[in-house]
Amino acid sequence: MSFLLHGLLYGAVVGSVLLTVTAWAVWFERKFSARMQSRLGPTIVGPVGLLQPIADALKLMQKETIFPDNADRFLFRAAPPFMVVFSLATAAVVPFGPDMIAADLDIGVLYILALAGLMLFPVWIGGWASNNKFALLAAMRGIAQGVSYELPLVLSALVPVVLAGSMSLSVIVSFQAEHGWFIVWPPGPGLIAFGIFFVASLAETNRIPFDIPEAESELVAGVTTEYTGMKFGFFYLAEYLHTLVSAAVAAALFFGGWHGPWVSGLHWFVLKTLVLFVSIFWIRWTLVRFRADQLMRLCWKWLVPISLVVLMAAAVAVQLGEGR
């Protein structure tokens, strides 16, 4: 098959599967969080509320699009689709199974981190174009947070790269399949790097406790205050997609991806992603959010130094390993 056809086909499959999975991930989160809050969650639409995402999508689609006065129309329209596109594009290099990867790039990790950085733009564009002080404040906070937390994200994502010797995600997963998951071996750097990667991903995807860009109680709806209908739906979808893909990437980088005890394959990958996703939203529904400056302090004073140390430790471990 030609390279282009392979890419298109895989891209279409991965994209559609991921979008569907995200929609039902929303359902899962709603049910799970409802049980944590002593209530029932969606129950009416479909058995156990399974058709709720469809109902939500239909609802969002039929809502009126409102353009605020003096809003920058082009930018206002441009922001949501870019969010979704960048989130989906991140999934192109994630190895779902031994040979299931849409684009086996040599620079897989770099590509993911670059896209994570690019995702700040739609947030900022949306906030600016809304012509709304709350949205502007939220966008400013979002940029500050996103840019700051990119550092620990990059540094901790580099630990598996250093340990495996390659930036390609499929190589990293194969390495873990042979030598043991990075979270347990070598002992130390992998676990701490995972912790930092997890926290930085929470911050990059604007999840509580780092959701000041969308702080409902202070800034109404943050960046998405003026967005209605499917535009808002896109932001929402993109956030979920980004969370899911972050969980998938963490599973691939630190937990050995599709590798598992008896039969390796897609099911292990899905299980690991699911566990990480559950812990992400479990944290979300439990904790209150950080204030902007406390968040920055956490990043610059704690996460960046620790991730630097961990990276050096990983490099030392590799040197010692080569000596063996």
Binding site: F32, A34, R35, M36, Q37, S38, R39, L40, T43, I44, W282, I283, W285, T286, L287, L298
Partner: protein, 192 residues
């Protein structure tokens, strides 16, 4: 690092609640029981001989703080049961839109004619549906479950002489002297 431990502790609480039975129910299918005294809507009653209890005395109309009851009196005539002349009510309307459910109309009714009902959720699709006509009020007598409170029972419950013979004689509590530093307590001048 303290954050991590605190977060884990909080997450433990949430996890515990995950395994508790949910408190909410799927409402229209499952209804929760209301107390005996629950106040939801109104009904006008007939007595045991089938005669209307309402004598058109206007007590409920006058007591209502929201002024939602409108009573039109009918001329006095004899009752078919007792043979004595009594008042009648030509029309009694109650605007449930503006009712504050204070139960005062029930309390003042001398004949226990108007009562509240404890069947909850009496919704309507239009405002007019909540404007209870006399026919609707008499219909509620048959359709909906009455609440505990009636005029007689409420007055009996609030009677100052109730239970006085059982209660041992207790001296009036000593008046508490507020200290000068306090700007509180109750001070009153004048007389009733």
């Amino acid at each position: 690092m303290g954050y991590v431990l605190d977060s884990l502790r909080s997450m433990g609480v949430t996890m515990r609640n995950l395994f508790r039975a949910p408190t909410t129910v799927e409402f229209p299918k499952v209804k929760r029981p209301r107390s005996d005294r629950y106040r939801a809507s109104f009904a006008l009653l007939h007595d045991e001989h089938g005669e209307e209890l309402c004598i058109g005395c206007l007590a409920c109309e006058r007591i209502c703080p929201s002024a939602i009851i409108t009573v039109v009196q009918a001329p006095k005539r004899e009752s078919a049961v007792t043979g004595k002349k009594r008042g009648w009510c030509a029309d009694l309307t109650l605007d449930l839109n503006a009712c504050i459910y204070c139960e005062l109309c029930v309390q003042v009714c001398p004949t226990d004619a108007i009562i509240m009902v404890r069947t909850p959720e009496q919704p309507a699709f239009e405002r007019e549906g909540l404007f209870l006509s006399m026919a609707k009020l008499y219909e509620n007598e048959k359709l909906l479950e009455p609440s505990w409170g009636t005029g007689t029972k409420l007055l009996e419950m609030q009677d100052p002489k109730r239970g006085a013979e059982e209660a041992p004689k207790k001296p009036a509590p000593a008046a508490v002297q507020p200290t000068p530093a306090d700007a509180s307590g109750s001070t009153s001048e004048g007389s009733a």
